[in-house]
Symmetry: C2
Subunit: 413 residues, 2 copies
């Protein structure tokens, strides 16, 4: 019998009514002939409530205890979902992470999945259960203590189960009905994408289209799990609903640019006049990483007289950490620079599309479009399937709109 994984996020199980709506979708898939693994998040707000208690109790809390506390929310939803399904006449039972077991590393609060032996679930299905409702986000570490996978880890749980069970598909039910060519709140002609490749989704996920957790997409790509994003607030669960995230293939839209993502709260930091010597990059970015600064784009200017400017971007709320780390290096004599210039009023705009691999000149086209609108580009980075630019924040919406229009993303290819 074919197996299906269905994952419902916090807003999709926010209360008993939403759980009931979700259960009806599960019932439909059971009626379609599937054995279903349902992965549930905590009812929305519950995890935050518990995290609040932990923070209030202990500013530098024990991560193992944090995991033991905050994993409770998913257990509650799993039990309630199983009961709701039973009320509909469907043979279901709940599973907590340790019962499956979903084995992880011991990195509490950010554990990685090591293995999901499927013997217990297989036996459960063989005994007549049609649905296994599994508490998402949690697992069991090598020492038998509860671990969690980090916020949003339920997506990753879902994909891992789909891979372990060789499921036909992993459906991620959320509060949006798919992946859009860009944010519809900014561009009203934004169009839902029917089918997108893992690589493109990865770039979009990490660039600010916060529908899917990046790790879950990586995992789906590695194990070739067909992934679908769709809304639990729509009735339609047929194969025309939502966005499929799959391996790149010929049947995909022939568009060169597939989507435009943005990230609003970026900052640009420039170290002016740094000695341009071998190892200088490591001397700067090692300490930044140690200080917990997530450096994104990096640009090094052309060297003059043995000195250069080094520019990088990071989230705006990490600028202070970056400044402290750099000034400490200067004070200790490990790094010499003339000035540290920061600009906290920038945003990142990125175009993503696998078609860029075979189409030269897309980046140049992008720069021209932005120039026509008078948008100055501060920093540029490119990859095989992506071009990102840093622009003044006030031009962000304008840039996204102009690019979406110029590349005609509102039209199906």
């Amino acid at each position: 019998m074919s197996r299906l994984v269905m994952k419902f996020g916090g807003t999709s199980v926010a209360d008993l009514e939403r759980i009931s709506v979700a259960a009806k979708k599960v019932a439909q898939e059971v009626a379609n002939g599937h054995e279903v693994v349902v992965i549930v998040s905590a009812m929305s707000g519950k995890t935050n409530e518990m995290v609040g208690w932990v923070r209030q109790t202990s500013p530098i809390y024990d991560r193992a205890e944090y995991d033991a506390v905050v994993s409770s929310g998913e257990n509650i939803t799993a039990g309630l979902m199983a009961m709701t399904l039973q009320e509909m006449g469907i043979n279901a039972r709940s599973w907590q992470g340790w019962q499956v077991p979903l084995k992880t590393t011991d990195a509490h609060e950010a554990a990685r999945i090591e293995e999901i032996p499927t013997d217990n679930l297989d036996a459960s299905f063989a005994s007549g259960h049609k649905v296994a409702v599994v508490a998402g986000f949690q697992g069991i570490g090598p020492d038998g203590r509860i671990t969690t996978l980090g916020r949003g880890g339920s997506d990753t749980t879902a994909v891992a189960f789909a891979a372990a069970l060789s499921a036909e598909r992993c459906d991620i039910y959320t509060d949006v009905d798919g992946i859009y060519t860009t944010d519809p709140r900014i561009v009203d002609t934004a169009r839902k994408i029917r089918k997108i490749s893992y690589e493109e989704m990865l770039e979009l996920a990490s660039l600010g289209a916060k529908v899917l957790q990046t790790r879950s997409v990586e995992l789906a790509m590695r194990y070739q799990v067909p992934l679908r994003v769709l809304s639990s607030f729509d009735d339609d669960i047929s194969m025309t609903a939502g966005t499929m995230v799959v391996q790149e293939d010929d049947t995909m839209e022939s568009k060169v640019v597939h989507g435009i993502a943005y990230s609003k709260d970026e900052a640009k930091v420039t170290l002016v006049s740094v000695a341009d010597r071998p190892g200088i990059a490591a001397a700067i970015f090692g300490p930044l990483a140690d200080a917990g600064v997530n450096v994104d784009m990096i640009v090094q200017n052309i060297s003059e007289d043995g000195r250069t400017d080094m520019t990088f971007s990071c989230p705006v709320d990490q600028v202070e950490r970056a400044e402290n780390a750099m000034n400490a290096l200067k004070t200790s004599g490990e790094l010499n620079f003339a000035e540290l210039a920061t600009d906290k009023e920038v945003a990142k705009v990125s175009m993503v599309g696998v078609g860029m691999r075979s189409h030269a000149g897309i980046a140049a086209q992008m720069f021209q479009i932005l120039a026509n609108e008078g948008v100055n580009i501060r920093v540029i980075t490119t990859s095989e399937i992506k071009v990102s630019v840093l622009v003044d924040r006030k031009y962000m919406e304008l840039a996204v709109r102009a690019l979406h229009d110029a590349f005609e993303l509102e039209k199906v290819a």
Copy 2:
């Protein structure tokens, strides 16, 4: 190193502030040189919230799922308590029932404890932990699913751990400062009892003094665990605080009557003119038990012409079930009676004291005291250390007060 079990109920861990107060008491006992097992309930209100969700989801819910859901409350408190202790510099960690493991039968929602292997806890203490914070009320069944011990099961958890670990004592922290000679809300001269026997406590617990769960007292008696009831709202945790529940000994107060308990919402049901044949009691009380009626007192009148009246008491909210069961028997011809008379306006008043064993005439004294007050007695039952009477509910407080005064329970023996 001597071990101590400390149990904190719902109101004693109601919020982070109360958890902190409780943790300070644990810290004191650690400073006193104990290894401590702390048993915690859910923060007050949490379990009821979850039970509400379950009932709303499924009127005839799956008990295994109920257990999976409602056990979450204790897990949260256990983690928060462990963190609070760590903040105070005490090496503590939390344990969920399945981690210990606390092994139970598979009777979900009302499981019985089968075994508590102490290897894991022993290893934890040996590794330097000073405190094991255990989620109360829960365990793991033979099939690896979570079980719960029934409401109030955290008391039982605490005593079971004390027995398994040969703890010096089991301290039950609650919102009252001990066991009283009667309810102080009814008799203002009610006095706190310093020391009481297991047998007396059992009678008092099951008779309505709802401080300790009956099962926990039975367990303490069987394994000779010294039990103490004291308030988490008082600062005093020295050995003069609270009430000790121990084996009967000579150092106990020489009072014949130790306490007066009452149970308000009782009902009296009489089957008028039943055929007095062998097996008639079984024919009546078997079906009542099957119908979920908790029959308490039973009185059979003297037989006349081969027919008798059979009277029993039960909680007032079970009268309808009792009526239905009896009428069904009449309809099917299995039981013949002239009339079913019910009185829902009665209450039970009981006197308890181990001294009754050696003092004749205590029951007669009781009846005389009540007669002097004009209180009519409906039903009487006696045991070695207890006399219970059913009286009209409106006289209940009067009866309790009259007995408390007449037997001078306000005075220390």
